[in-house]
């Protein structure tokens, strides 16, 4: 990328495969991207495209089969035991299901204090003050709710507690995997606003994984679109939504439903379903559903090309160029 800033996270050719032999599935088939300090990178795609696997592989919750992951220049691959655990304190993850990601039998203040207790960074009074502070930051009154159990909270509140817990170690990077998709719209808006506030307050860098295009656009500076284990387009969110260059991005945006009766009925619906990653198509992975596909798409895999600054697309016939 032409950006002169140093990326916080640098991912190159990340691959994750499951199974062996003829059951081998490449869930993530070579993904490269950078995340710069203080920005939010949105990662969108349909289910099965490998977006969650990418998020988990970055934390090495799922072991990547090849590729490199570097946080501030130091590699995460190859670290073991304490070195790996130590490294992970810089990266935290928030999961989709807020209720099952908290232990129902523990008190809220203990859940939030868990990372601090593990690493013994602070103790005693200082620890309690820090926990109370974190809980107030996410809008949970520590005096009233601190001693309650996680099971006594609603989904939105549990997600707030998850956020407080993830912030306890002052991470540099926060990976949010579908963190608002289980919430009602009114609560979802609260959590998204909270995330934006905390991001500026703590100077966080975010990888925001979600399937909802409107949600991703709302929080992201840049957006990467994944299809069948590969990134097909990545670029600044406004530019990418305004003028999608990859046919898949265009279809995906066309299928997004706007809460507006005057929005045009989308006649161009993408037909069919994603092919099985067990046996991905040759060349471009989208060619089986792409209306513009030619022989070249079947024989040659498109490489990322830069259309505008920071806007890359992997397509032989990008849409925006055709218009010119």
């Amino acid at each position: 990328m032409s950006d002169s800033r140093q990326p916080l996270l640098k991912v190159r050719d990340l691959k994750v495969t499951f199974g062996k032999g003829r059951h081998e599935v490449s869930a993530v088939a070579g993904v490269s991207f950078d995340i710069y300090p203080g920005e939010t990178l949105g990662l969108v795609g349909e289910s099965g495209c490998g977006k969650s696997t990418t998020g988990k592989a970055l934390m090495r919750i799922i072991e990547p089969s090849s590729g490199s992951i570097e946080l501030e220049g130091s590699s995460l691959i190859g670290r073991k035991g304490k070195a790996l655990r130590n490294f992970r304190t810089h990266m935290q993850m928030i999961f989709q299901d807020p209720i099952s990601s908290l232990n129902p039998r523990r008190r809220v203040k203990d859940i939030v204090a868990e990372p601090l207790d593990c690493w013994k960074t602070v103790s005693g009074n200082e620890r309690d003050v820090l926990v109370s502070d974190l809980l107030s930051k996410v809008g949970i009154d520590p005096k009233v709710y601190g001693n309650r159990y996680a099971r006594q909270f609603s989904g939105g509140q549990c997600q707030r507690i998850s956020i407080a817990r993830s912030l306890a170690m002052r991470p540099k990077l926060l990976i949010c995997d579908e963190m608002v998709s289980a919430l009602d719209v009114s609560v979802q808006a609260q959590i998204l606003n909270l995330l934006e506030d905390l991001k500026s307050e703590y100077g966080l860098t975010l990888l925001f994984i979600a399937h909802d295009l409107a949600v991703v656009k709302n929080v992201s500076d840049r957006v990467a679109v994944m299809y069948l284990g590969k990134i097909c387009e990545i670029g600044p969110s406004d530019a990418l939504y305004e003028a999608p260059a990859h046919p898949y991005t265009k279809f995906l945006l066309g299928a997004a439903l706007e809460a507006d009766p005057d929005s045009p009925m989308h006649n161009q619906v993408l037909e069919g379903e994603p092919p099985s990653p067990l046996n991905p198509p040759s060349g471009c992975r989208f060619r089986t559903r792409c209306p513009n596909a030619t022989d070249k798409c079947a024989s040659e895999e498109p490489q990322p090309q830069e259309l505008a600054e920071g806007h890359f697309v992997s397509c032989h016939y990008p849409l925006t160029i055709q218009k010119k």
Partner: protein, 334 residues
């Protein structure tokens, strides 16, 4: 509206109350609306607003114990409230059918999908085995499943989520129902598949002259596919009207808040969302006033003490329940 013959579905003062350990839980209270033939109505609300209980009560699918249903549901002239199981069973499938949210749990995982469609044809319509199979394959084709004869033999686990939902729709259509209840039919499906399924439902509605009740939490789903919308909050209808009126001439602050709090693709990145503070009320501890009052920025003392009833707005068929309604477009201009 009083002419029940022209309306396929007439719901009047319908209330469903569950008896729980914590006391009576009014899941649905005083709901009235009508649905014309070949019309699609959307029921919108957050979780716990009573939209699913309402659709199940209309079907007559409430549990047998610990539930009190009052009011009336006239489905093509048949009263569903208080009807016997055998009476309701005769209507299920042929008069009304339901498509549930989760296509995996509503199909039997160890039964071939073809057999699951056959079952309905043979039991409801008394078809022979061979006729049922022919018809089932026709239905699979109707819902857009490629190579239906092969898919007839497939198990649900061999199909994707979108295909399973198509099978569920095929089962629902087997008895040629006049009313199709679709409870969150596309939640959990990907956006491109969601668009396919919604287009399919739209297309089938016109081809088979059905009426559709589309229950969803997603305003985007109902925006372009319904003629009228019911907005529910804490078990009550808070606004009802034509889709256009509800979206652009809403009077109830909750409807406005719901629209404002959903992120939009057309907005620029980092647009601040207008969140609704607090969360939906506990139905066991409802106040005497408006249920939305604690979260409403326009609430006054009256809102907390006295419950507003639905009152007619300027547009025909448009009604809202609010003491301090948002100004109409006319009032805004003046």
């Amino acid at each position: 509206m009083s002419d029940a013959v022209h309306e396929l579905l007439v719901v009047k003062d319908l209330s469903t109350t569950f008896t729980t350990m914590g006391g009576p839980l009014p899941a649905v209270s005083d709901v009235s609306f009508t649905l014309a033939r070949n019309e699609t109505i959307g029921i919108v609300g957050e979780s716990g607003s009573g939209k699913t209980v309402l659709s199940r009560t209309i079907m007559g699918l409430q549990p047998r114990t610990n539930v009190t249903v009052t009011g009336s549901v006239l489905l093509n002239g048949n009263e569903m409230v208080g009807a016997t199981e055998s009476f309701k069973r005769a209507l299920w499938g042929t008069e009304v059918a339901m498509v549930f949210q989760d296509p995996m749990t509503s199909l039997n995982p160890v039964m071939r999908v073809g057999k699951q469609i056959d079952e309905s044809l043979r039991v409801r319509l008394g078809m022979s085995k061979q006729d049922a199979k022919t018809r089932a394959i026709e239905l699979l084709e109707l819902v857009g499943i490629p190579s239906p004869a092969q898919r007839y033999m497939a198990y649900p686990g061999q199909l994707s989520g979108g295909m399973r939902q198509r099978v569920v729709i095929a089962i629902a259509l087997a008895g040629s129902p006049k009313l199709l209840m679709a409870d969150e039919p596309t939640t959990g499906l990907d956006v491109t598949i969601q668009a396919q399924i919604l287009n399919l439902l739209d297309d089938l509605k016109d081809r088979l002259k059905m009426s559709v009740v589309l229950v969803t939490h997603d305003l985007g789903v109902v925006a372009t596919r319904t003629s009228r919308i019911v907005v529910m909050y804490a078990g009550r209808i808070v606004e009802i009207g034509s889709t256009r009126d509800v979206f652009s001439r809403h009077r109830m602050p909750y409807t406005r808040a719901l629209l404002d709090s959903s992120p939009k693709v057309s907005n620029a990145s980092h647009t601040r969302l207008v969140a609704i503070p607090g969360r939906p009320p506990n139905l066991l501890q409802l106040s005497a006033g408006c249920s939305f009052a604690p979260r409403c920025s326009f609430a006054t003392d009256k809102c907390h003490k006295e419950r507003p009833e639905l009152q007619a707005a300027d547009e025909p068929g448009h009604a809202f329940a609010c003491w301090n309604p948002l100004p109409t477009t006319m009032e805004q201009q003046s």
